[in-house]
């Protein structure tokens, strides 16, 4: 029996470092996150560097002709993915505050984010 079947729950973290739309990374990580929800693991999402832009309110891609995937972040709690962490320094460097974000998150300092990453069993970064 493998670990999944025996019910071993691992701490997973998906680390988002890229802005949305300019590259495919943000959307691809989101797809991975949704898939991970099917495996009943302890999923954490971290938003650092340009990844904080993924959670900006008011995204409107009509004129761009690309899918606006930002509402999906608000639907994650429906998949029991509720551990979202945003790095304070990354927001500040980019002129963002918690009021700019479209979902409730826990804001962590860079040092605390590093410590949290260190507690994980599996970390995937893009």
């Amino acid at each position: 029996m493998d670990e999944m079947e025996s019910g071993v729950v691992k701490k997973f973290m998906f680390v988002n470092r890229k802005a949305p739309y300019g590259t495919i990374y943000a959307l691809e990580v989101l797809e991975m996150v949704l898939i991970s929800a099917a495996f009943d693991q302890d999923v954490h999402l971290a938003f650092v560097d340009d990844g904080v832009f993924q959670l900006k309110k008011g995204q409107d891609t009509k004129a761009l002709g690309q899918k606006n995937f930002s509402p999906t972040y608000r639907a994650l709690d429906g998949y029991d993915i509720e551990k979202l962490y945003v790095e304070a320094e990354s927001m500040a460097e980019r002129g963002l505050t918690e009021a700019d974000l479209l979902v409730p998150v826990e804001v962590l300092s860079r040092a605390d984010m590093g410590a949290l990453m260190n507690e994980m069993d599996v970390v995937l970064t893009a």
Binding site: Y21, D50, A63, R94
Partner: protein, 100 residues
Amino acid sequence: MLHTVNKSPFEKNALESCLSHAVEGASILLIEDGVYAALGGTSTAARMAEAAKRFKVFVLGPDLAARGMDAGRLVEGVGIVDYEGFVDLVAEHPTSQAWL
């Protein structure tokens, strides 16, 4: 010369290289993730504010809107163009340079 920059200034040095090479009076159009360089209140805003005095700086509106940013967040002196404005800028300048 029209310069286009499509990379985030927080991640790549494309904008910095563009600003260091562009000559006085050049036009610079920020597109895709390059639009983040036009935002006020950031760690790069002062650099852009200074650049907006030496160059004609524009952002592509649809790229700004996709990222949830509005005109009120832009550094002073930066203009917004739509896709037609992009075409006009290309037509007005004899040469274009894309800082990828």
